[in-house]
């Protein structure tokens, strides 16, 4: 009721807004469109949501806005030239993609890489795993209204990215691995700096823990939301933290150890309920385990070469390229024709930040992959989102979407 200047009371009905008083017909469904560009949708993915009141009746995810033709591009590149493309799959933890891809190349080549290179891959990969989990935890906090948590997470991530930049020369898209090893050895004094960084990251991680884990609002919004059962998770092909949050202890690093994971001591944290909160807790704990792995690996890393000495795979040293005919020829053939990978097929998989990163490669014996299929961990997980949120409130969509950590780069290859 308002009292205008003429003193005569008028209610809403009188000013012709009868529609405001009518209740919406509850049988009618509203369709809303989230994305592909939406501040709370990671990457460019679109969700069509059909609502009954505030309850999600149907959700249809639509992807493809970031599709770049990864597989087609790889088929036209040499095995080494694929590396920059592979980096851009999960761009938050590119080193894990690099090394995951190299495992399949080395499997086809039947190549054993030097021990020191394996340790460097473990150290660098686990650092990037911490980055990935920090991003998720920070973003989850932010999108539930706690911006502070995001800043703590990003500070920690930047510190690690500084170390990664010292090691590889790039913060994000690193292209650091090579078939047969890694591009270069650890810089002088880098190990000590990493240990200091990990101490600071642990402090920041504890701050995050205090800010979020027992935060009433955070727990209420994430507990019991986005639930997936153990059987469904397996059937959909969940792996990584999202599967372990359902209580299934599948971790490629334990189930099928690669590099030097069998020499290192670490635990696989498990959840129980398969909800957003458990996915968050699993990731918080995994960061601590990665921290343990890096510290052990830095203590144990042996001296030695970081690249195989075989000139059919590794580039010869520059003095040899310019000084000897053998070096020149080997260099020329590697650059122009690529590594000659024997004909065959192989499936190799590693534990990336979001789960099993698998590559199925077919070689026809030439320098280029005949077929390179990437099994990105996020793809099956995203396909299960509708079954996780249908029947729940619209407000549960964003935390669910966050906690599965959908990364456009790897889903939309």
């Amino acid at each position: 009721m308002s009292t205008p200047a003429d003193g005569k009371a008028r209610d809403t009905l009188e000013v012709g807004r009868q529609d405001l008083l009518s209740l919406p017909d509850s049988s009618e469904r509203m369709v809303i469109n989230l994305g592909p560009s939406h501040p709370a949708m990671h990457g460019t993915v679109r969700m069509l949501v059909e609502l009954e009141g505030e309850t999600i009746a149907k959700a249809v995810p639509e992807i493809g806005f970031l599709h770049r033709g990864f597989e087609k591009s790889c088929e036209a590149s040499t095995w080494t030239q694929c590396l920059p493309y592979v980096d851009r799959l999960n761009y938050v933890s590119s080193l894990l993609n690099d090394f995951g891809y190299l495992v399949v190349v080395e499997k086809l080549l039947r190549l054993e890489i030097p021990e020191r290179a394996k340790f460097i891959r473990v150290i660098a990969g686990e650092l990037h795993r911490i980055c990935d989990h920090l991003t998720l935890v920070g973003a989850l906090g932010m999108e539930l209204g706690g911006f502070t948590a995001f800043l703590y997470a990003l500070e920690a991530r930047e510190l690690i990215w500084d170390r990664i930049a010292e090691l590889t020369g790039a913060r994000v898209t690193t292209s650091f691995g090579r078939p047969g090893g890694v591009q270069r050895d650890l810089p002088q004094g880098w190990g000590e700096k990493v240990l200091e960084t990990l101490d600071r990251v642990a402090e920041l991680r504890d701050e995050l823990d205090v800010l979020l884990t027992r935060n009433r609002i955070f727990a209420d919004r994430t507990r019991g939301a986005g639930v997936i059962s153990r059987d469904d998770a397996l059937e959909f092909g969940f792996t990584g933290p999202c599967l372990r949050a359902c209580g299934v202890g599948y971790d490629v690093r334990k189930a099928h150890p690669y590099f030097v994971y069998d020499q290192l001591d670490f635990d696989v944290p498990l959840g129980e309920h398969g909800d957003n909160y458990d996915r968050y807790l699993v990731r918080m704990e995994e960061m601590k385990q990665s921290d343990r792995i890096v510290r052990q690996a830095l203590a144990k890393i042996p001296e030695g070469p970081v690249m195989v000495g075989d000139w059919r795979v590794a580039l010869p040293p520059k003095e040899q390229v310019y000084g000897t005919i053998e070096g020149t020829i080997a260099h020329f053939k590697l650059i122009m024709e690529g590594i000659q990978v024997p004909a065959g097929e192989a499936y190799a998989y590693t534990e990336a930040a979001n789960g099993e990163l698998g590559f199925y490669a077919v070689s026809d014996g030439s320098g280029r992959p005949y077929k390179l299929h990437v099994r990105a961990p996020g793809f099956p997980i995203l396909s299960a989102v509708p079954s996780m949120i249908e029947g729940r409130l619209l407000a549960d969509l964003i935390p669910t979407f966050d906690s599965i950590n959908m990364i456009g780069g790897e889903v939309e290859v």
Binding site: K107, A346, Y360, E412
Partner: protein, 178 residues
């Protein structure tokens, strides 16, 4: 995993066309396309195999490979849902003239998007799939870009402009109607 291959051969005899392990330890069973769904169900439900995890699926276009034979090879990666997490690759070979096979979506929910991917990029039709639409490309796109005879730099005309109510729609199928 040798044992699983033997188990499949014992159970399905000539429907398993070929079973082999590579030197690097991957196991493959090539299955008659007509028997795919039956074999798939057995793989999932037989307690000894227990291949409950649908890891992924892909297609190899064998057009340029010297061996010849059927053009398309579908590779299904499956894994046990318990320790020791053994894996198995099921293969189905389809000819260029009839790139069609039963969907395994009713057996593993995870197969849904992978089959849409195979349709989108290779033009494989899956009978019994509930919603076989393109997944990454837009609906107006013509052809199947990962086929070996699709050019690397293939260009397609721009999609015609859409009315204002369609502006928020973007590429892909229309939103669910009220």
């Amino acid at each position: 995993m040798r044992a699983s291959l033997d188990r499949l051969r014992d159970r399905f005899a000539e429907k398993v066309l070929l079973a082999y392990s590579t030197e690097q330890g991957d196991d493959f069973a090539v299955v008659d396309p007509a028997a795919l769904r039956e074999v798939a169900r057995f793989c999932k439900e037989e307690p000894e195999l227990d291949l409950r995890m649908f890891v992924s699926m892909c297609v190899v276009d064998r057009l340029l490979l010297p061996e010849g034979g059927p053009r398309f090879e579908l590779v299904y990666q499956l894994r046990q849902g318990r320790e020791p997490w053994k894996k198995l690759h099921l293969k189905v070979r389809l000819t260029e003239e009839r790139p069609q096979v039963d969907s395994v979506q009713p057996i593993w929910k995870g197969a849904d998007w992978w089959e849409r991917y195979a349709w989108d990029f290779y033009g494989i039709r899956f009978t019994g799939h509930p919603d076989l639409r393109r997944i990454l490309m837009y609906e107006e796109f013509e052809g199947h870009p990962l086929r070996k005879d699709y050019p690397l730099r293939g260009r397609q005309p721009l999609v015609e402009g859409r009315g204002s109510e369609e502006l928020i729609r973007g590429p892909g199928a229309a939103p669910p109607k009220k």
